[in-house]
Symmetry: C2
């Protein structure tokens, strides 16, 4: 879970970061209940304007992807129950948004999100850093934070990001076909 | 969705059958919300003692399996929120429970569940028949409806079912490895 405030000038500030954990010894239904309760707590506390969720692909580890898909489903449901819009972004889009490469590794994402959010320490575990990167990715999407203000006046970093995002969309399209 | 009442003597009666539909044109979060609302309506109306959910494997059609896994997750969550126990059964277990073969086709499952529940017409679509078969499978599990009464005195059909179930568990184990 990562909560990010949008600031003027393509900047962002971390509001909160963390992990919702469920006891692996519990049955699946009780683990999902714990996750749903955790999601409710986060949404009640932070009242986000939008919830970004990772778009899950079943490419590699099918077993773990099923659980990820179910957790993502609960996040979408929790947001929808509150009338909060939901956005989906692929892992490639997220990586490209913060590192410039849709194929960046987890450590690179952690390093960049630490820099972007001007954090003293890298968020741990890497999944928590991923959540912050997902939020920043959504903030920086085309027509997002830039909408209606300085979109005509991109900095070199913004231009590099826009190009990386375009490349990531192509990667995402290949991965998702 | 299939709701079944357990009767004495390894019999079962259909209480309700149907399908929760969501508009395919809606975004995923709103489709999940519609399904969650439908699940709540069914649980509020029928107040089951237990909810049986199909254990989803990502074998064949990965794209459709993701949605199935998310819908199954919502069903487990809805039951867990109400404190209703959840049971998972594999498709092979369900098929074996009602047809004697873990590899039975959809039409065979529909024919058998129509006969078992003494219905005038086969439940449609086949997914609705599957839901009833899943409920009957759970009712007939070892230590289930038979527990504490006539388990020492199996009829030939019950014995055939027990053998089929054993075979199905082996099939399930192979499929789920």
């Amino acid at each position: 879970m990562g909560v990010v405030d949008s600031l003027p000038g393509r900047r962002a500030r971390m509001a909160a970061v963390g992990v919702i954990r469920s006891d692996a010894d519990l049955s699946v239904d009780l683990r999902l209940l714990r996750i749903a309760e955790g999601l409710d707590e986060w949404l009640d506390e932070h009242r986000p304007d939008v919830v970004a969720v990772e778009r899950v692909f079943a490419q590699h580890n099918v077993a773990s992807v099923m659980g990820t898909a179910q957790a993502a489903g609960l996040a979408m449901l929790a947001a929808a129950r509150r009338g909060i819009p939901v956005a989906l972004h692929t892992p490639s889009e997220v990586k490209a948004a913060v590192t410039g490469s849709g194929r960046a590794g987890k450590e690179q994402v952690t390093r960049m999100i630490t820099r972007i959010l001007e954090l003293d320490d890298p968020p741990r575990p890497a999944d928590a850093a991923d959540a912050l990167a997902l939020a920043v990715c959504h903030l920086w999407r085309p027509g997002g934070a830039l909408q209606g203000n300085d979109s005509h006046d991109l900095t070199p970093a913004q231009r590099a990001w826009a190009e990386a995002e375009k490349a990531a969309r192509q990667v995402g399209r290949r991965a998702g076909r």
